[in-house]
């Protein structure tokens, strides 16, 4: 019966028009994944109302098309720009972007798209075979297990994403502290909200991610006035693409293991997408030989997270379809879609509606194959952007960065957050502080606090710590930290083979040594923030201050240790200021930040559409030195995207500018105000 349903499912998935809707969903999904700050949720929200009147198969074809492929196309921004396209492609940045800087973006794409397809198909297969056995696994992951799994994720990213374990863990502590902004988990008491309604709930994720990752890369590109690739000539891209596919095939065992990690972690509701790429990356680092090049353009650092983050989608559907437990916002939307179509999650999906369940699985598998094939075809053209002047790239991306941030709450606070984290991120980049731990800790912080407090209350104390799965996961945490310390000690030994290879790679990727004063400024900033965060403690009950304290105490100790070591290590402190302030690129970077701030000021006065258009045009003329032949089409495209996509399709809630009434007064009667306001 199951085999019949399996074949019936394939036939249903290939039927017209549902197959056409699948293709449409794939195209939409590729676009949404590739643009930083968009992502699959927005696509599913926009498409969902159109599915009310569709037949079941067509509705799921388009939704699953979007659902399955955003984590394939988000590789583009991770590799090309060092910006995680979505939360699940953060680890790809570590090795993907250095490859692009070496001029090997096509190779990274070849490997990433191959293993994405593989991971997606593997996820679908596991989804098919795991449905009957998944329930006991899911039901064993209660709050104590979720808490320990989050700690494992943090340990992985904190200790593996940089050269210094102390810096990584201090950055993670900073991220945890950020996650405590807003209403406490246990009482109606807002923490660190500074009388700003914007901060009553937690800080929105997208402006923080774009500020920390996208803006520093854009500042860098603008300031250095060069191409993404640090090598001058484009190599034969098709050959590179083939090389990447070959890399993926050679590392099939790693891809298989990471896909399995993706599926099984994806099954656990509430945590999968955020940590899976890091756990896969950490697994690759710990389990493969010659690990010195990780973080500097090792193709295995792309293969591991990309295999896992596509497989996670199949895994996450298991609790949604089989038990009605959605693990993420996208899964919750798919659950709504099931109900809209009159399907009930649970037993019917595994019995009477099994062919439809299999059709859904086939949709995911087909979407992964088609998306990978499409992106392979496009990969060469995309990779060539590595050799285009950075000024043409910066303006194409900054528009989406600003609008991606604005889509969070549509408040001025979104842009203020973006700029604040742009400054922090840029300084962290200059000072050699790893940024991924901040983001992951920020994502996991509220989940950790919530699951810790619930575990505490349900079990009336810490008795849950002896649960078997918790013990196993905590052992993995210890092993991860020990491994990281051993690895860093080995890499820091002078004249080691690892260092020779590493420095050769650093030269090839254009990676610059950290600026000591920038590192000290970041450390001092963190220390000040940690200390200031203690101030409101007097007014808070124990359960409200407990979690911030868990971030602050280790944060202070680790940051102080880093500061002490770096301050003492500086051989000559006098020229440090000169090195930073006299750095031409840093000054240009600051000027670029000034442009962005001016854009926000202009937007407050005359509206966002005019301000963003002015930013694009002014930047191209003044920084790029381009004439109207370049500026005019760019400005036109910007206007089309702002009005045609964000205004007319997404229906963005635009800022009401101070001069709105004055502008309306001078607009000729009959001229639609929404074109400019």
């Amino acid at each position: 019966m199951t085999l019949d349903a399996f074949i019936q499912g394939l036939v249903l998935a290939l039927q017209w028009p549902s197959f056409g809707f699948l293709l449409l969903g794939i195209v939409i999904g590729i676009w949404l994944g590739a643009v930083p700050g968009l992502g699959g949720i927005i696509g599913i929200v926009l498409v969902l109302p159109f599915t009310y009147g569709m037949d079941t198969l067509s509705a799921f074809a388009i939704l699953l098309g979007i659902f399955a492929v955003t984590s394939t196309s988000d590789t583009i921004a991770s590799v090309m720009l060092g910006i995680p396209g979505t939360a699940s492609s953060q680890a790809t940045v570590l090795d993907g972007h250095p490859l692009a800087r070496k001029g090997e973006a096509a190779r990274a794409f070849g490997a990433a798209f191959t293993v994405s397809a593989f991971g997606g198909i593997f996820g679908a297969v596991i989804l098919a075979v795991s449905l009957p056995i998944a329930l006991p696994i899911i039901l064993r992951f209660n709050n104590p297990e979720l808490f320990s799994l989050a700690i494992l994720g943090l340990a992985m990213v904190g200790s593996l994403s940089g050269k210094s374990v102390a810096k990584g863990l201090a950055a993670a502590a900073f991220g945890l502290l950020l996650s405590t902004i807003g209403y406490a988990q246990d009482a109606a008491i807002p923490r660190y909200w500074m009388e700003q309604t914007y901060l009553l709930d937690r800080l929105p994720l997208i402006p923080v991610v774009l500020g920390l990752f996208a803006m520093p890369e854009l500042i860098d590109l603008a300031a250095k006035d060069r191409t993404i690739a640090r090598v001058k000539t484009a190599q034969a891209s098709w050959r590179q693409l083939g090389q990447g596919i070959g890399d993926a095939v050679r590392n099939w065992w790693l891809a298989l293991r990471c896909s399995a990690i993706g599926v099984y972690i994806g099954m656990i509701p509430g945590i999968g997408g955020a940590v899976v790429d890091w756990i896969a990356y950490g697994h690759a680092l710990q389990s493969t030989k010659n690990a010195e090049n990780y973080g500097k353009g090792d193709i295995r650092g792309v293969i591991a997270p990309e295999a896992a983050n596509n497989a996670v989608r199949g895994g996450s559907l298991i609790p949604t379809v089989a038990f009605g437990i959605p693990g993420s916002a996208m899964n919750a939307l798919l659950l709504s879609a099931l109900l809209i179509q009159g399907l009930q999650p649970g037993k019917p999906m595994l019995t009477t509606d099994l062919p439809i369940t299999f059709a859904m699985i086939w949709n995911i598998a087909l979407a992964n194959i088609i998306a990978a094939a499409l992106l392979m075809v496009l990969a060469n053209q995309i990779a060539k952007l590595c050799f285009v002047s950075s000024h043409l790239i910066v303006q194409g991306v900054i528009l989406f960065v600003f609008m991606g941030a604005w889509l969070s709450l549509s408040e001025v606070g979104d842009w203020v957050t973006l700029m604040a984290f742009a400054a922090i991120g840029y300084l962290m980049k200059l000072g050699g502080w790893p940024r991924p731990p901040v983001i992951l800790a920020f994502i996991l912080g509220s989940l950790m606090e919530n699951s810790f407090l619930l575990s505490w209350k349900i079990h009336e104390g810490l008795g849950w710590i002896t649960r078997p799965i918790v013990i196993v996961i905590l052992c993995l945490v210890v092993a991860t930290l020990l491994f990281a310390i051993r690895r860093n000690t080995r890499l820091s030994q002078p004249a080691s083979e690892g260092e020779t290879v590493a420095s050769a790679n650093a030269q090839a990727t254009g990676e610059e040594p950290p600026i000591p004063l920038a590192s000290l400024i970041v450390g001092a900033g963190f220390l000040t923030i940690f200390a200031a965060a203690l101030l409101p403690f007097g007014a808070w009950p124990t359960l409200v201050l407990a979690f911030p304290l868990l971030a602050i105490v280790p944060g202070i100790l680790l940051t102080a240790a880093v500061l002490g070591r770096e301050f003492l290590a500086a051989p000559d402190r006098a020229p440090m200021w000169q090195e930073l302030a006299g750095n031409q690129e840093v000054r240009r970077g600051m000027a670029f930040l000034g442009y962005c701030l001016a854009t926000i000021g202009l937007a407050l006065l005359v509206g966002q559409k005019i301000a963003l258009l002015a930013l694009v045009a002014t930047y191209l003329v003044r920084w790029g030195g381009y004439g109207w032949r370049v500026v005019a089409p760019y400005a036109l495209a910007t206007a089309l995207i702002l009005i045609g996509f964000y205004d007319r399709v997404v229906h963005v809630f635009w800022l009401k500018p101070i001069l709105a009434d004055e502008i309306r007064a001078v607009i000729p009667e009959g001229f639609p105000a929404w074109l400019i306001l």
Binding site: I41, I42, I44, V45, L48, P49, Y52, I138, L139, R140, F141, N142, N143, Y183, Q185, D186, A187, A188, P190, W193, E195, T197, Y198, L200, D201, P204, P269, G270, F323, G324, I325, P326, A329, M330, A332, L333, L335, S336, L339, I340, G342, Q344, S408, L409, S410, E411, N450, L453, L454, K457, I458, H651, V652, F653, K656
Partner: protein, 352 residues
């Protein structure tokens, strides 16, 4: 007690509510775009019913304007309603659609700048709620008296939780309350995993995550709706299985008498005053009265449109109890008048 200002507003609101349709300009909204600001993120349950209602409002508003839905989550829903209150257009083209948090207003919670009594009321709807409990823990109502169970909840000060816990106290149940679950999707996962045993569910949550055929949990009783005079309303059709009693009936079955006492009195006040209009469509203060009355009529038409109700049922679940315009206006004007004895009981319940 009604203040003079609120009485005046009430009178004005009711007067516009009963304006004859012919007095309303048919083409007021023709060619216009109306903005609905929602306090929920795109794709959430609230967002789905907001978008569906907007879709049907477009059809029922004379002139068939376009309604654009904007999501402004954050600030525990306060940002969206503050925005409409402070920045909404007075020409009737901006509205808030969502939970207006009367208990946050009463408590003067941080960030609340809107004054519900000053806003125009288009319409409102209540929420059908039930008490869900694991079958292996409380297999039937009669077992409730001796059962010892954990109730997972959103947080003891949440309005739904206050109502649900008042009901459990009314019945004399022995339970331990664990708050801090973000919403019912997390509570239901914990019930299914046997981490907690029970929770207070909205009707959409019950339908979405359990339904009548669940092997894990069942609704032990549901919270009956009342009219303006405190008379109980009949059970909504298709909402819960036929044998699920009301709280009132459950008390009778368990104790052989009608409920009474401070918990029951507080329960009734909380239910009628705060829970019967949890979702509201509100305009900024001083909105054009003609526009408001057109919107009020359109909302009542939507609430009675069989196609809308069918779509709601197939996409979200059983539709909520919609209030008349008069009822909506009254609730929005009187919600602050909490009697002191109710206040004391609510304070006790909120500290569970």
């Amino acid at each position: 007690m009604l203040t003079r200002r609120s009485l005046a507003l009430l009178a004005a609101g009711m007067a516009t509510a009963f304006l004859p349709a012919s007095a309303q300009a048919e083409d007021y909204f023709a060619g216009k775009t109306i903005t609905w600001v929602l306090p929920w993120p795109a794709g959430s349950g609230g967002d789905l019913h907001g978008r569906l209602t907007a879709q049907y409002m477009e059809k029922h508003i004379p002139g068939n304007p376009t309604i654009v839905v904007n999501n402004k989550p954050g600030g525990s829903g306060i940002i969206a309603i503050n925005t409409v209150y402070e920045q909404g257009e007075k020409d009737g083209t901006t509205y808030f659609y969502g939970n207006w948090s009367p208990s946050a207003v009463i408590d003067e919670a941080p960030g609340v700048r809107y004054v519900p009594e000053e806003m125009g009321v288009v319409g409102s709807a209540g929420a059908d709620l039930a008490f869900m409990v694991r079958k292996d823990q409380v297999p039937e109502l009669s077992a409730l008296a001796d059962a010892d169970f954990i109730v997972g909840g959103r947080g003891a000060t949440n309005a739904i939780e206050v109502l649900g816990n008042l009901a459990l106290k009314t019945l004399g149940a022995d339970f331990r309350y664990v708050g801090g679950f973000g919403g019912f999707s997390k509570i239901q996962a914990a019930i299914k995993a046997d981490e907690v045993h029970a929770g207070h569910a909205g009707l959409p949550g019950y339908v979405k995550f359990f339904g009548p055929d669940s092997d894990v949990a069942h609704p032990l009783y549901y919270h009956q709706q009342f009219d303006l005079d405190g008379n109980p309303l009949p059970k909504p059709e298709k909402a819960y299985p036929a044998d699920v009693p009301t709280l009132y009936e459950a008390h009778n079955t368990l104790h052989g008498e009608a409920p009474s006492g401070p918990y029951w009195e507080a329960y009734k006040w909380w239910h009628m005053s705060l829970m019967s209009a949890t979702t509201a469509i509100l305009s900024p203060p001083g909105v054009d009265q003609e526009a408001l009355s057109i919107m009020q009529q359109a909302f009542q038409d939507v609430a009675g449109d069989p196609d809308y109700l069918a779509d709601y049922e197939s996409s979200i679940g059983v539709p909520p109890p919609f209030n008349s315009t008069e009822q909506s206006i009254q609730i929005l004007q009187t919600f602050r008048d909490m009697p002191s004895e109710v206040e004391a009981v609510v304070k006790e319940i909120s500290s569970l």
